[in-house]
Subunit: 393 residues, 2 copies
Amino acid sequence: MMKGLSLLLSLLLLPVAASAAECLTRGTGDMGIVVERAAGSLKVMDTSAHAELFRVEGLGDLSHASAVYSRDARYAYVFGRDGGLTKVDILCGTIAKRIVQGGNSIGGAISQDGSLIAVSNYEPGGVKIFSAEDLSLVADIPATRVDQEKLSKTVGLVDAPDQKFVVSLFDTGESWIIDMSNPQNPAIQRFTNIGKLPYDALITGDGRYYIAGLFGQDGLSLIDLWHPEKGARLILKDYGKGDQKLPVYKMPHLEGWAMAGDQAFLPAVGQHQVLVVDHRDWQEKGRIAVHGQPVFVMARPDGRQVWVNFAFPDNDTIQVIDTETLQVIKSFKPGKGALHMEFSPRGEEVWISIRDQDEVQIYSTRTMELIKTLPVDKPSGIFFTARAHQTGL
Amino acid sequence: MMKGLSLLLSLLLLPVAASAAECLTRGTGDMGIVVERAAGSLKVMDTSAHAELFRVEGLGDLSHASAVYSRDARYAYVFGRDGGLTKVDILCGTIAKRIVQGGNSIGGAISQDGSLIAVSNYEPGGVKIFSAEDLSLVADIPATRVDQEKLSKTVGLVDAPDQKFVVSLFDTGESWIIDMSNPQNPAIQRFTNIGKLPYDALITGDGRYYIAGLFGQDGLSLIDLWHPEKGARLILKDYGKGDQKLPVYKMPHLEGWAMAGDQAFLPAVGQHQVLVVDHRDWQEKGRIAVHGQPVFVMARPDGRQVWVNFAFPDNDTIQVIDTETLQVIKSFKPGKGALHMEFSPRGEEVWISIRDQDEVQIYSTRTMELIKTLPVDKPSGIFFTARAHQTGL
């Protein structure tokens, strides 16, 4: 009898106990994920305790993976290179839902109100928009046809205020504003001839300016989303590959632009320089000599420092620039494969992925000293939950 | 036997069930609190569902109460007028800890790293700093002595980057930077003669400029925290009560300044105007005629709109200003006692407290239409958890 009672109790208690053990009751404001690109997994982190909470496996090909967060900061939506879109529950360390939505995907965005997830696809070219709740398809927007066989690749997809997305078409040189305020009837505004081969884009933190980098010519394409009637215009006409003396190891990420006060800091293409641009008129106002070809140029949230990492063969180095004096105030070598950086939302710390050492390093931005190292398998992108509250992230 | 088993099961299951019922396992990114000023209570809200989650009572005198959030966005620290400091667990709807730390308090701040809570007190005048964990006292910093009986009141307390707080001394016309990077040994930098009777202050969102309003003279006192060696200087020398033709019903809150692009929007003192200031040189560049004496002048997070509420007898009205054309694009009367506004972090909605109607109204900022009304007893301040990630909020 006691054995039977014991078994009965176990069965009755199991679901509750399991649920309590697996999911955390805690605030999500200080959490984040680190992508393990080779393993197709990610680690869920507690940024206050500097500690790992969960490892989540089975996310497919995570090379160049990126992520956005639900508005409650409980779910990370991870965009894989293989077209996978995975909704990860960071309180339970589980995959809430996973679909393979395209053949070859390069990023996504979440709508202003958090209800929609958009993904841009190379293959087949276009944008698919899903319900953030269950990843069911809401809209399938094919890109412009290039020839009988294929549609243009789509790149540089971002969210914008008033429930919009903006995306560029690589092959056909277009940018589209997709208004999803009526999800059953997407309204698309098309800008053609924006420049040759847009390969990536960013939106400024206030959601006003959409800027696409061009692979087929120098300069960048800018759209003022407050004035779409003015069309796209070319800015920074000297920005690009031009007559490079050095081989371009990697086209820099545009999302890695830093905006600090009236200045924008941009990675020069193929040169050992960071460009300083006045973001009121988008004119270049200076260049800062740095250690290698910059990849990410990231501003500390208060705009007082800019941290820079570099393309191979200089990807073992990080430099810190003072945004007022424009001087490099610190150079150090955290290790080979320093791929990505993420600041804590109020800027007191920065986390850096060091791929070849299988670790994430955490630095104080005040002392610029190493605080702690956490083991992570081939870490790449780091994404903290405060992104849930920011346009374009 | 079955009755005994049933009782045994109930007893065994009780703690788990109770715990599950009381505390929520959910993301905290889309939560917020609304202060019920008369009842000394607050309501915990789900901003995605537009629904109440908990009502928490027993917080003392909450007239002019304000709140900050822990870095994990689980706990709200509520500063009451009566010197009460209450740590509220918004996942469980309970008071985690409450102390009465002073006789008469007017606000507080949380340190950049989230470890310290600072409170400014009228009586006795000074700043007390507590552990965010258990509210134990870490530092007690008395204000400058005014006479044998009393110390200066402290006002305008804010957090600043690099683990600092900044506060002003009403009676003695000072501002202090308190560096808490070594919590056992606060380092204080004192600025004297900053102007007569500072009554409130703000810090810009990037944490660079600290600006104190002056009750005893016109103008505002500005400290550039990147250059404290330059001292405090007077800006906007025409800003103030001056020769007012109208009685000043309420000194406007400085935290209600809106920064949008290069412009700052300020409530004029005692006049039916919003001032437009170039925040690069702090020169006035225009005035916008509005419906009454403005109290809060709040920018939508993308800076495209500014929403304004007004002092008695015009506190039944809200106006919306387009920051580009500087035109009032919408005026409406949501009800008497429109005391406070809070935008969702990405700006799609704004919540407005309507005290005399015992309700909070939720508006779409795109359509400017009412979406929903929630019952709240004499609502005043509204504070969403995204503040956890912002300097000065």
